[in-house]
Symmetry: C2
DNA sequence: GATCGACCTTACCCTGAGGTCAAGGTTGTG
DNA sequence: CACAACCTTGACCTCAGGGTAAGGTCGATC
């Protein structure tokens, strides 16, 4: 709890820039994660610099990996909180993964539909302008099949 | 330019709610499009109500269709501006469509990679906890293949 | 003419995950 | 001392609206 100077702790503790570099993140992201409660609040030097431990860096690695899997910060926080409460978060994690896979399948289907629509519109570009349809702005778009995509 | 009352114009002109309903949009979206310059500024009644024409509704339809194709408001505005400048926007539109198709192909590839990663992590959930690897939070995520997705 | 519900107006804050910039303090080195 | 490279907080930006607040207006009914 005692605030220290940077010098006397540099061997064990890391400033935000170093912790960020070690975990492959930006300092801004690291501060954000702390503020959102994914990391415990970092110790500070007398002058206010954050000091991170090797454990913090390990958690940062975990967060980065989880972000790679496209989990949201809130989901990651849930997992971390579970684990800090002494529970095995793995059951939760498999649930998250299943939900994300299902979400990805939905997005893939949406994107494929959107791709078909765009391609149809694109193909129509060649034959447009000859049909007698009067368009307000652009036949290409206006005569495209309307399949709304829920993002 | 002369402001009118609602009553004397109700046959030809529409309030924002009606124009929105006719074009399948929300009033909020219609106001946004006007503010962003996709629609010309609407006439107003003496009391400040917007008055939209049938032409405006046609443009709103066009915008909705273009949004369905996932074009951004800025791209749609470009097309509309081009057309208002007397040009045929179709060349621009085919370019936009091609760019969007290419973007979708990138997203599809990203999502498929992400799906593979998630699935690998999900499968590993069954065999985890038995390997001797020590994990900080969760082996499932930490031993997942790291393939960053650019959204 | 009062009242009511449905409509309209502007303006502000919210989303996700940070990026960017400003203004200023700290550290370590030449 | 000076300087660069770090750190701090804070505010504003993204994108396309959604939600809410506070208040004005419309048409119909009493």
């Amino acid at each position: 709890m005692t605030p220290r100077s940077l010098g006397e702790t540099s061997a064990r503790l890391l400033t935000v820039g170093r912790a960020a570099a070690l975990s492959g993140l930006s300092p801004k992201a690291v501060r954000l994660y702390e503020r959102k409660g994914l990391l415990p609040e970092a110790e500070r030097t007398e002058s206010g610099y954050r000091l991170f431990t090797a454990d913090d860096v390990a958690v940062l690695h975990f967060i980065r990996q989880a972000r790679t899997l496209d989990l949201t910060l809130e989901e990651i926080k849930d997992v971390l909180d579970l684990q800090r409460g002494g529970e095995q978060p793995c059951a939760r994690v498999t649930g998250l993964l299943d939900a994300h896979i299902a979400g990805i399948d939905r997005k893939l289907a949406d994107l494929r539909r959107l791709r078909r629509s765009l391609l149809a519109a694109r193909r129509a570009a060649g034959t447009a302008r000859r049909g007698g349809h009067d368009a307000v702005v652009c036949q290409i778009i206006e005569h495209a099949p309307a399949e709304p995509v829920r993002a």
